[in-house]
Amino acid sequence: MKALCWYGTRDVRVEEVPEPKILASDDIIIKTSTTAICGSDLHLYHGTVPMMEKGDILGHEFMGTVVEKGPDVKDLQAGDRVIIPFAISCGRCFFCKREYYSCCDNTNHKSYYSKKMNGDATAGIFGYSHLMGGYAGGQAEYVRVPFANVGPAKVTSGLDDDDLAMLTDAFPTGYMAAENCNIQPGDTVAVWGCGPIGQFAIRSAYLLGAHEVIAIAIPSPAV
């Protein structure tokens, strides 16, 4: 299959790589229908995130169709259309039980250096260095999704991929920024930055009841 692989700073290549296999009993394999480039992928591209290895497959914003599943996968079937969150979560630890899925204690199985650097580790993240678990990412024709009983969301509506793929990372990121502001009905809210995340923060502020949103940006290609 084709996948986008990292080889060094400003050196990423679309290559033929082996297709993923089921490695644990609660894995699924999906055929990717849409995958996106996140702003944080640029940190990998620019070489500012340590512990990348040559050949690592990038990408943490992706969705597709289930083509294979492990024996312990409960609710998903081959053919199901699924959205995959960027963070991999076990569903069983202290944080997951409180719905802080991105703080999962168990999926980042290479967490030692992350703990040394940051005091504690995040969950494992697709395609985002061996600090974050070293999981192969979603900028590939097929992707192995571990802990598939927890993260993947089955799509039951007829919405297009373009309306859904942003749920994997970008929309929740902007939404969380707005949510953190404890917006009350009638509030006026200022949002600095009008790139994709800023756009979602603006729309989320309205969703959460803001009367008026003032968007602030310096002229840049992102506006």
């Binding site: 009993s25 050949g55 497959i57 076990c90 069983r92 630890c93 199985h109 030692y112 703990k115 802990f147």
Partner: protein, 170 residues
């Protein structure tokens, strides 16, 4: 999860390591899993196997530098259900070593604090070399990662892996 190293690591004689992790399981469940020494290689990456070798005796095989192996016999020196297990290598081991695991209730029903101590006495020569033989190249990292894997195994039933996943190779 919190892990911490014990103060007082002494590089000139015995080397001691201490790590602690909170696991969302009862002390009894964790004790039962730990008491089955043969399951250690599931979460201790540097071990090849641990087999029963008679009453309170176990035979350990670990990965050494390169493709070598290092073997030793150990005796179980403490065993209190739900509380503590301790072991110590028998005379004749290349790298005399001992270890213990304590299970203590964590605060506010958050499971169990699991504290592992390991010490080994390099018989002269390079401390780092002997340490590598028995605990991997980076003992502190090895034990921290081993405990993370034990936590994942006990909380989720599996040890997370990426071994065998797709990767570019140019």
């Amino acid at each position: 999860m919190n892990t911490q190293s014990a103060p007082g690591t002494d590089n000139t004689s015995d080397v001691q390591l201490k790590k602690c992790v909170t696991i969302d399981r009862t002390a009894e469940e964790l004790y039962e899993k730990w008491k089955d020494f043969s399951s250690f290689p599931l979460f201790m990456e540097h071990l090849v196997s641990v087999r029963p070798a008679g009453l309170n005796r176990t035979h350990w095989i670990a990965k050494g530098p390169g493709n070598t192996k290092v073997e030793w016999d150990a005796a179980t020196t403490a065993d209190t259900p739900g509380k503590v297990i301790a072991w110590k290598s028998l005379p004749g081991a290349d790298v005399p070593n001992e270890g213990s695991v304590h299970f203590d209730p964590a605060p506010v029903h958050r499971g169990t604090r699991v504290t592992v101590t390991l010490s080994y006495a390099p018989p002269g020569g390079s401390v780092a070399r002997w340490a590598a033989m028995i605990f991997g190249e980076e003992p502190d990292k090895q034990i921290s990662d081993d405990l993370s894997r034990f936590k994942a195994l006990m909380e989720t039933g599996v040890v997370p892996t990426t071994d065998g996943q797709s990767k570019g190779n140019n």
